[in-house]
């Protein structure tokens, strides 16, 4: 099974962190805050849909609020498969990092 892409990974982590608040806008915001890169709405929708299709996330409609023009929010939640997948990714990463020598934070001025 191929690993999640980095964006997918970040989104799933965001979903986990946001809990009851995990819908498109806060997720996008969290990504922007953490990475410092601009994320458009569209760039969140696509991976979200993909993850739902893969079965790592599922979604439900929540209450409508006035600032949404009376429309529902779609709240995302990790599925069991999603939780397991995140674990696998974490393990793979930790394994990879743990056998990697320190990568200098600064460019090596002299060798």
């Amino acid at each position: 099974m191929p690993l999640l892409t980095r964006t997918e990974e970040l989104i799933m982590l965001a979903v986990w962190q946001l809990g009851q608040l995990a819908y498109s806008l806060p997720i996008r915001q969290r990504l922007e805050e953490i990475t410092g890169d601009p994320y458009s709405l569209g760039s969140v929708y696509m991976p979200l849909d993909r993850l739902v299709k893969k079965g790592f996330l599922d979604s439900s409609l929540s209450e409508a609020t006035p600032e949404r023009g009376g429309r529902h929010k779609r709240i995302y939640r990790l599925t069991e498969a999603g939780r397991a997948e995140l674990h696998r990714v974490q393990q793979v990463q930790q394994a990879m990092w743990s056998i990697t020598l320190d990568i200098p934070a600064e460019p090596e001025s002299q060798r």
Partner: protein, 854 residues
């Protein structure tokens, strides 16, 4: 900005977005958009947010538009391709379908064109809906009523002065008068009217002053055509002519000929005052010979005025059971005063047109459902590839709309081709009034055809189960077959009703033609009297009778078909008449002593007028049988009767002869000798009429130099009277033929299909020893059953419809069972002939051919 009311995206952009993203699934993202807009507005300012929002919306549009048009274009080409393939693969069916629909539509359109023409009569006047003709209704003691148009002359003026509701009024009297210049003379039908006439009725292309043109009694208004004959290219206005060689008149107006769509039949006009100059008393309440037209004020109801006229009638005709009726002028062409008239035919033909259209629709529905199984595979394929039911329905509705459009194109071509012939049949030039309404009708018929013929097949086709059909099980549920049967039965019922109808119409009309009128109208012509003729009458008569081709010559007050002179019942008295004895208006006729021989009428008892007894002219009267019955005399001869103040003795009773349409009973009539003579009637030998007429003109010229014979044959006039109905009969026959043709076309398609479906069954039966006849019987049984059922439906319906139609005739044929049986048999034979070829062909096919591939 108030925190409680979050900023909203621009209204228009929102609306646009909602139009683009209609699906429910876009709801949540739309909410996201709106919330994000609010967030942007807070962090970067409302204008930036608005900019962002608009960018999103506009970015969506091209994709959306492209997407939808791309896919609908794809589907459309696919639909068209499929439709075309199906049309082409089943060429015969398609031809049957389109031809049937086209013929049905063409019939309907032709009928609508005709109806459009007929109901346009007298609608071109300034205020057509306020124009009325005043009629009187006589109520008989038995509860019947009889309406008649002639009125006394003073009524017109009185109505206008006494009733504020009557804005304008005119007398209307239409004699034939001769118009003479120094070197030319023409006899023309005149309308003698009051000056108001010109404001009430439109004369097309009128030149002259309409306010004053009829004010001077010595004025005349003539049509352009006659003006040219008198004066050539010169201006006719102000020129002088002579009327009847008696009065000098000035041309005060010229107009183009009257249009065809008016009930008026005059060519020239002159003031009614001229009639007074000719010696007629226009203040005489007893002279009931005029028509009266009135124009009512805005917002006046005719019924209310009829009510208000009651006291007036009581004054004019005390104690008479008469009421007034105001007949709308546009109705005059459509409705006869005593019921019936053209309107009946309009309804008949409207029904015929609808029947034909429905028959054509049923064809289409039947063939489409029958052939549905051929398309189940295509449909299943579509469904499996994701077509929804609605899409399929749209597809098939589209197909039938396409067929309807094709059929309409063909139909319009047919109409164009048939119109000259149809005009001939209708006896008038018909052209579609190419108005928006006409196009609306064309479009409406096309659309309705498409929808009605498409609806049912579309639902059947779209409801098939893909899995079953793809497995090869293409049998249709039985319900559809039952519906098809019902439709065929219904269709053939309509056809049989039409056949019965046209047979009965034909029989009734030829019955009317052949019925004994009570006199013989053949080879009798009438000549309008003028002063010279009157002066020289006896010389002319003697000279004419020397010609062996001239059988007899006599006089009457009008030509027989136009008899309108009458005397109202309260002017007729006899000994012992009580106030309970009410008489309807009696026809009054003046004749010469040779009337009986000339017209070949006959006496029932007593004697006819005798030229050797000059006293007859003042003292004798002859009644017809109807008059004797109306008065209640068993033995009228020898009795005394007073007519309009003149004491007369009844010397004989003439057998009833029919001087009006055979729609009505013979009216009571009093005949007087040499009363109001205005017409010479001549009976000639039926052979060599033109030669005889030329000789007659020569003879009269030897007495009156330069005389031009202006004659009208009575038989032609009667033909005209019944001609309209004759034409209707022809027309209904043609419509019936077409309707039956369309039905048979449908049956042909259905038979072909049935045979096709059962071809293997037939093959097996043949192999197992069935005879050709047996197979034909097997296949024919179904169809003949349907036709018999159709007969059972059609007969009672036809009986009801036709007996209602026949009620409009005083003399009518009986509806006998043979007409019905014959029509049923005819339909049966036609259907069998249609089906027969297919079944025999199928029965004779070598089973090897059909079963080879099993």
């Amino acid at each position: 900005m108030n925190r409680n009311t979050p900023p909203r995206p621009p209204q228009f952009a929102q609306w646009l977005l909602r139009r683009i993203l209609t699906d429910k699934k876009w709801d949540t993202p739309l909410g996201d958009f709106e919330e994000y807009y609010g967030e942007l507005a807070r962090t970067k300012g409302p204008s930036a947010a608005t900019r962002w929002y608009w960018k999103q919306v506009l970015g969506l549009i091209p994709r959306r538009v492209l997407n939808s048009t791309y896919w609908s274009a794809m589907m459309l080409t696919n639909y068209l391709k499929t439709a075309w393939r199906n049309l082409w693969r089943y060429r015969i069916y398609s031809l049957i379908n389109i031809l049937g629909l086209a013929v049905g539509m063409a019939c309907f359109i032709l009928i609508m064109i005709w109806i459009q023409e007929e109901i346009s009569y007298d609608r071109y006047h300034p205020r057509p809906d306020s124009l009325y003709r005043v009629c009187s209704v006589y109520h008989t003691p038995s509860g019947d009523s009889r309406v008649s148009a002639p009125q006394p002359a003073p009524l017109a003026g009185l109505l206008k002065t006494e009733f504020p509701e009557v804005v304008r009024s005119t007398l209307y009297f239409t004699p034939v008068l001769s118009l003479v210049s120094a070197d030319k003379r023409f006899s023309e039908r005149f309308a003698m009217v009051d000056p108001d006439f010109l404001e009430m009725f439109t004369l097309p292309g009128f030149r002259g002053d309409p306010d004053t043109a009829l004010d001077d009694p010595n004025s005349v208004i003539i049509p352009q055509r006659i003006a040219e004959r008198f004066f050539g290219e010169e201006n006719p206005l102000g020129r002088l002519l002579f009327l009847e060689g008696r009065a000098m008149v000035t041309v005060t107006g010229v107009f183009r000929d009257l249009p065809a769509n008016t009930h008026h039949r005059f060519t020239c006009l002159c003031p009614i005052q001229m009639l007074a100059k000719f010696g007629r008393d226009l203040n005489n309440w007893r002279d009931v010979s005029f028509k009266v037209y009135v124009e009512l004020a805005e917002s006046t109801s005719a019924t209310e005025l009829e009510e208000k006229l009651k006291p007036l009638i009581a004054k004019i005709a005390p104690g008479q059971p008469i009421t007034a009726q105001l007949q709308p002028v546009p109705d005059i062409h459509l409705r006869d005063l005593n019921g019936g008239g053209l309107i009946v035919y309009i309804y008949i033909f409207l029904a015929m047109g609808l029947f034909t259209l429905i028959i054509a629709w049923i064809n289409y529905i039947n063939l489409a459902t029958a052939r549905a199984s051929r398309r189940f595979r295509e449909i299943s394929m579509r469904r499996i590839l994701g077509a929804g039911r609605r899409q399929l329905i749209r597809q098939f509705m589209g197909e039938s709309l396409l067929m309807a459009c094709l059929a309409m194109v063909v139909a319009l071509l047919l109409v164009k081709l048939a119109l000259p012939f149809f005009s001939l049949l209708a006896g008038k030039t018909l052209a579609p009034d190419v108005s928006p309404l006409f196009f609306l009708m064309i479009g409406g018929v096309t659309y309705l055809t498409g929808v009605i013929t498409g609806l049912y097949p579309a639902f059947i086709l779209s409801s098939s189960k893909p899995v079953r059909t793809l497995k090869g099980d293409i049998a249709q549920p039985g319900g559809y077959r039952n519906l098809r049967r019902a439709l065929v039965v219904f269709q053939f019922s309509l056809s049989i009703i039409l056949i019965i109808g046209s047979i009965v119409i034909y029989r009734q009309l030829s019955f009317m033609r052949s019925r004994n009128l009570g006199y013989n109208p053949d080879s009798v012509f009438s000549v309008q009297m003028n002063r010279e003729l009157y002066k020289n009458y006896s010389a002319i008569r003697t000279a004419l009778l020397r010609n062996p081709a001239v059988l007899n010559v006599t006089l009457t007050n009008t030509s027989l078909d136009q008899l309108e002179s009458s005397v109202s019942g309260n002017q007729v008295h006899w000994e012992g008449k009580t106030s309970d004895d009410q008489l309807p208006t009696l026809a009054l006729m003046g004749v010469g002593p040779e009337f009986l021989e000339t017209f070949r009428a006959s006496m029932r008892e007593g004697r006819f007028f005798d030229p050797k007894r000059p006293g007859d002219a003042r003292t004798a009267a002859i009644l017809n049988e109807a008059a004797g019955r109306a008065i209640g005399w068993d033995q009228p001869v020898g009795r005394q009767i007073e007519v309009a103040g003149n004491p007369l003795s009844v010397i004989g009773v003439i057998r009833d002869f029919n001087f009006r349409s055979l729609h009505h009973d013979v009216e009571p009539m009093i005949i007087l000798l040499n009363w109001g003579i205005d017409v010479i009637d001549v009976r000639i030998r039926p052979e060599n009429k033109p030669q005889t007429l030329a000789a007659i003109q020569q003879t009269i010229r030897s007495i009156i130099p330069g005389y031009t014979l202006d004659y009208e044959f009575l038989e032609d006039q009667l033909d005209e009277l019944y001609g309209a109905e004759q034409r209707m009969a022809h027309f209904s026959q043609i419509m019936t033929l077409l309707a039956v043709f369309i039905s048979c076309l449908g049956l042909l398609g259905l038979a072909a299909f049935t045979v096709e479906v059962r071809i293997k069954e037939i093959g097996i039966r043949r192999v197992l020893g069935s005879s050709t006849a047996g197979v034909v019987f097997l296949l024919g049984r179904d169809f003949s059953g349907w036709i018999i059922a159709a007969n059972l439906v059609a007969w009672p319906a036809a009986y009801l419809l036709l007996s209602r139609w026949l009620e409009g005739f005083a003399y009518r044929v009986h509806l006998d069972i043979w007409t019905f049986a014959l029509s049923g048999l005819l339909a049966f034979l036609l259907a069998m002939a249609t089906v027969g070829y297919q079944t025999i062909k199928a029965a004779r096919t070598n089973p090897v051919e059909t079963l080879r591939y099993e």
